[in-house]
């Protein structure tokens, strides 16, 4: 287990290192002179020169990278040109909101997806299976932003049950906060529920055919025990890895929903920055999110080891 942990950690560090390189290079794929693009056509030569120096763009590229990464390690991601604030603190301010929403969606959708997938596999060929499978196919195909808009139209504008948009801290007004949460969480969760349900279903179906399930039956165990003790635990192994992957996908949906529902999270910040060509925020966002997801994937891998003794004891 220790060597497994060590290997995974080294792997993660290596991948994070490449994430930093990708984020760093993003600024360099801007066609033409990024400084001119940042400052606009009306900038004076002195301004351009000063920014170029600030960004270290007058230095050799390797040095630029070292310089940049050094700053990043000290929490300095550069300054936003629109907000005139530190990119790091802008992110940090908005991070809790996004984390709050994403974790609720992730937990809810994983649980619902697993339950749906298991029901679908166990009742294979039945009505429930057909409905769940149809939902799983359609759910992946629905853009979450469209679902958000349709939801706003039906429940917000037509029926008036839910607030149209906005965000309230759960520590301020919990009831309002929950009401505002329903739409965004629903919209981001639907595709994820579909993905998890699909994977759980196929993995459960495959597990049910395994020899050890037959052995369990041959011992006279109740079908419930065979399915939920012997089969499910094995079937969940691939689902756990999937959760790490869907997280990245979920965050994408979440970011668009933040702009639609006007939620002050990292997503809205990043999308606005992108539209306004606030390059440093985009760069910082890529770096921070990439690193965060790498670390979460490491945690997932360790969990994986806990479920599967074959990994734990290697």
């Amino acid at each position: 287990m220790l060597s497994f942990l060590l290997r995974r950690t080294i792997h993660t560090i290596f991948v994070v290192f490449i994430v930093t390189i990708i984020s760093f290079l993003l600024l360099h794929i801007i066609p033409g002179d990024p400084v001119v693009r940042i400052l606009g056509a009306h900038a004076t030569a002195a301004q351009i020169e000063q920014l170029r120096h600030e960004l270290g763009l007058d230095q050799p590229i390797l040095w630029q990278y070292i310089h940049w990464i050094w700053n990043v390690f000290h929490g300095d991601f550069g300054k936003s040109f629109i907000y005139h604030e530190d990119v790091g603190s802008l992110m940090l301010e908005r991070f809790p909101v996004t984390l709050y929403l994403v974790s609720i969606s992730l937990i809810l959708s994983t649980i619902i997806g697993i339950i749906g997938g298991v029901i679908s596999a166990v009742k294979r060929g039945g009505v429930a299976d057909s409905l769940i499978s149809l939902f799983a196919n359609t759910g992946i195909a629905i853009p979450s932003f469209w679902l958000g808009i349709v939801g706003i139209y039906i429940f917000g504008l037509k029926l008036g049950w839910l607030p149209v948009q906005g965000y309230t801290s759960p520590f301020g007004d919990l009831w309002m906060s929950l009401k505002q949460l329903i739409m965004p969480v629903f919209a981001t969760s639907v595709p994820n529920v579909a993905i998890v349900a699909r994977q759980t279903r196929s993995s459960m179906l495959e597990t049910i055919q395994q020899d050890y399930v037959r052995t369990a039956k041959s011992k006279g165990l109740k079908q419930r025990v065979v399915l939920y003790k012997h089969a499910l635990r094995n079937a969940l192994i691939p689902v756990v890895t999937l959760v790490g992957l869907t997280l990245a996908f979920l965050i994408g949906g979440e970011f668009i929903i933040e702009t639609i529902c006007n939620i002050p999270g990292v997503g809205r910040l990043l999308v606005r920055a992108a539209m306004n060509k606030d390059y440093l925020i985009v760069q910082g966002g890529v770096l921070i999110l990439g690193t965060a997801i790498c670390i979460i994937n490491l945690v997932v891998d360790v969990t994986y080891g806990l479920i599967d003794p074959r990994i734990r004891y290697k």
Binding site: I22, P31, N137, I152, M275
Partner: protein
Amino acid sequence: MSEADLETWPEQGQNKRVSEFQRFLRVMFGRWLVIFGTFVIVLTVFVALFAPQLAPYNPNKVNLREMIEPPSAKHLLGTDEMGRDLLSRVIYGSRIAVSVGIVVVCIAGVIGMSLGLIAGYFGGWIGTMIMRFMDALMSLPPLVLMLAIAVMLGGGIAKVYVALGIAFMPTYCRLMCGEILSIKENDYVMAANVIGAGHIRVMFSHLVPNAFPPLFVMITLDLGFAILAEASLSFLGIGINPPTATWGAMINSGQQYLLTNPLLSIVPGVAIVLLVLAFNLVGDGLRDALDPRLRGKI
């Protein structure tokens, strides 16, 4: 039982078995959902090809006297905030969708599979570098990655193709690499190496053809997901510039007029869902038909 009876008895043994291709067709089109998916795809491609003939109006023609009109005999789905005919715009939007799907999958597929082939076949530090690079790309939320690349490169449809292509590349690379690694162990590949077949020859006559079935399924699914991803980008107003009709951008501009004409947002959304769903259904059908063992792998 006489000899004559026995002669007319159905043939025994191998020759009676259903041929592989028949089996493929039977599994593939045995379910109405797959037929439905195929129909939707064929229909969309047809609409995209003949958009100028099918669309009742010029999709970009502004008519300020007919802004945000509800559906009528003149405009079957109504008009948008600039008086443009919604139906015509949805029809023209299919062109962007179909082209994005095809081009993005081509870019992602060709680059991803080539890198995967190199990583899987040669291994070593080159392979490790390639695979870790893909891990890094995969750990970035696809939307954020596409957003970043598209923004950095600047607007325009070509930039969207590139951004999406890069974001979709890692899965191809990983899948190819994994397939190659397992196929490489087969005796016939070793035999080819032993008799002195060159790297290129081994790769393209032995490895690639055998690695293809699962990739084929992946391509079908990704045609749909690329369309979904492009819709997200154009919804955010990044990439393809107005006034080009894209489904994502139409949903976005329609959301301000939900109370007057909700169809402005709903119809392009339904078009996206149907087309992506169709690719999913066909992809699933292909997977079951090509190899049942692939279930759950992709």
